[in-house]
Amino acid sequence: MTFDLEMAEIAKVFFQESREGLDVMESGLLSLGATADSENINTIFRAAHSIKGGSATFGFAEVAGFTHGVETLLDEMRNGVRPVTAEAIQTLLQACDCLREMIAATEAEQPLDQVRIASLNGDIKHILGEANEAPASVSAPPAAAGNETAGAGAASEPSGWRIRFEPVADLLRLRNEPTRMFAELRRLGAMVAHADASRLPPLDALDPESCYLSWNIDITGQIPRGKLDEIFDWVDSGCRLEFTPTGGSAPPAPGAKASAQPQAAAIDAGSAETKAVSPTETKAVALTEAKAAAPADADRSAPAGAPVQKAAGDSGSIRVATEKVDNIINLVGELLITQSMLSSFADGIDPNDLDRLRQGLSQLARNTRELQESVMQIRMLPISFAFNRFPRIVHDLSRKLAKKVELKLSGEGTELDKTVLEKISDPLVHLVRNALDHGLEIPERRIAAGKQETGTLELAAFHEGGNIIIEVRDDGAGLNKAKILQKARERALVAPDQELTDEQIDNLIFMPGFSTAEQISDVSGRGVGMDVVRRNINDLGGHVQISSKEGLGSTIRIRLPLTLAILDGQLVRVGKEIYIISLLAIVETIQVARERVNTLVGRTEVFRLRDEYLPVVKLCDQFGVEPDSRSAEDGLLVVLEADGKRVGVLVDDLLAQQQVVIKSLESNFKSVAGIAGATILGDGTVALIIDAPGLISSAAKQGAGAVAAHAA
């Protein structure tokens, strides 16, 4: 099925909304396990219904058909006909997964996994106990409708149909072409269409783009209902369609003005009240009337139901394209630059004349800062977006591992930058899986250890000093320090005679290639876990640490910056150049005392800081700048730390500390070793931001190179 562009746009919204709907269903289903309240089932039902309605509208017949079964089951649960069993919930959860894949496949125009769909469909039917009952949904898509006609057809095979087609005025604007549909009908059999022009307004009131006509179509031939549905599939939302079988063994066709005739089925794409029962006459009529009363837009609102509902929980969120937000952020960044440009200009002029200018400027400064803060807020999302997937993951994993786990979430409202949020999700999943697999013990062992049978896994997020802290805590077995140390020694990650503190031992698990899992399971243990987690977090400018007490559990603590777009920077000067170092990387800054500087093999300088020797990195040499002075004691040593390594960076002077807007060097140029990006200072010039981890590792390499060169 090919869409034109506009349609593809709308379909995109549908896919997005369906995914949200599935999330709603999933979280609803998971909480259903604990309490089977009807409001919850209703929520799940509505989400499923929206997906069905939407997919039928877009002609994704298989999605709609599949959802229909899910919806039927939910409907029966809602009405109390069907008990809410663990089996049913499990099946519905699997159906959610399946739907998610179907939607992804539909979006990517990939073939669907028919085997899985069929098997799940079978499961659902099994629960419904209606495997032999042909589902007869009025709005069922062609596939299901085919069944229906097969069922209904056995009773009365019509030899023709009378179709009453009353389109909405927008029909043509929605890019539908009645003549094309008629042409398709004609291919099914002999067709006569009578146009009904009674709705035509007088010429002066006529909107040439609107459709005022309706049609009575008589078509002869043994045509299954599904075929007709297929043709009208595209337009059925909001249009009034009636199909009346004519001739054959069908009951005598009612008069021409038949409006509530027997076996008339009103179809309506969004129709919520479709039941999985054969539409009796009365039902069909009732439906027709109900739908006639409810205007088309009532149906239209149905697919929007899921996100609205969700939004209610998120205190009214809006969907904004990240690109637009980024654009605003850039603009505000520039505003900030202009403002500081003006202030530094005002500083240079006689202050007596410019008191008012200064006042205005300070107001501008305040305004811009506030504006910037509020604009940055747009990018901020509550961490619940990342946390929401954990109930499901924990549910599935604990079943698989036969462990009893209670998941506690706290601080879900803590907001952090969208980019950070997206990149932290996977590492968090990894940590949670690890905690479940290695941390928490099976019930028997817990009882033996005198602990509660059910283990606790806590995910907490909170603010701490301009950073976001995310903690993953479990009350499991904790890390086996002896085993870790043994393993680390086996793999030569630690020197045999090296003494390590408990904390250092715990953090060894973040070393590349380290895994203590005795058996490689599909949950964890491939040895590519924790170091990747740490790298991802470091890439975000964050930091991860683990602390653990044997027998009592472990806590993994992740520290993340609030945002990636702005950085708290320390301006440093080397010669005539100004560089910016992230305050997060700076441990301290010290005046260098001559006696503390020593040279290694005559070249590499090291500095004794308390009981540690730090390699001295001269920025002037690294970046090829002419400094004020080459000797260490004339400058300042900025101690940087990254990846657990420390270096002292020699600069000529420390200047102001300020928040800077990070601009990428790559967007117009390329990445440069030792440089993380650029920013624009108050005077309009560009200053480069130093990539502290990069600088440290390249300094280490150069140091090694220098030693090698010296040796040679």
Binding site: I337, F623, S667, N668, F669, K670, V686, L688
Partner: protein, 172 residues
Amino acid sequence: MSTAKPTAGADKLAAESSEQYLTFMLAGEEYGVDILRVQEIKGWDKVTRIPHTPDYVLGVINLRGAVVPILDLRRRFGLETIAFGPTTVVIVVRVMTGRDERTVGVVVDAVSEVYNVDAADAKPPPDVCGTVDTVFVKALVTIEEKMLILLDIDRLIGNSIVDELVPGAEVA
């Protein structure tokens, strides 16, 4: 010798096959770039140096909030460098490197003219020089009895920016 059609005062619409080129001077030679690629022309201003880059990358400037690299075309071509004077300008061009569009400034001695160049008049560069720099030459045209070197700006700047530099391009 092909005939050339200077634009100066030419009222007639440019033929479909003709393109407009902005020309500039560099060490006595006249070069042309597709005018549709030129974003703006600005005076020379102080740049922020970037470490670990070839010498023809003078640094970056703030162009209305965007960080834009500035390349010295004389150094890029390995020509003798001169002190920047009053006519020294930065031509800001948009180039395609791979799928991305980048904005880059190039420092030239002076801007010269805008010419309509007929595609038919453009001659491929002679395959003699043996120097790598000719790969940046899209074509040669003769205009008012002068030779005009039309540059392939994407290649020139793309090559200067991406990490694999053309061997030999980095002339001291």
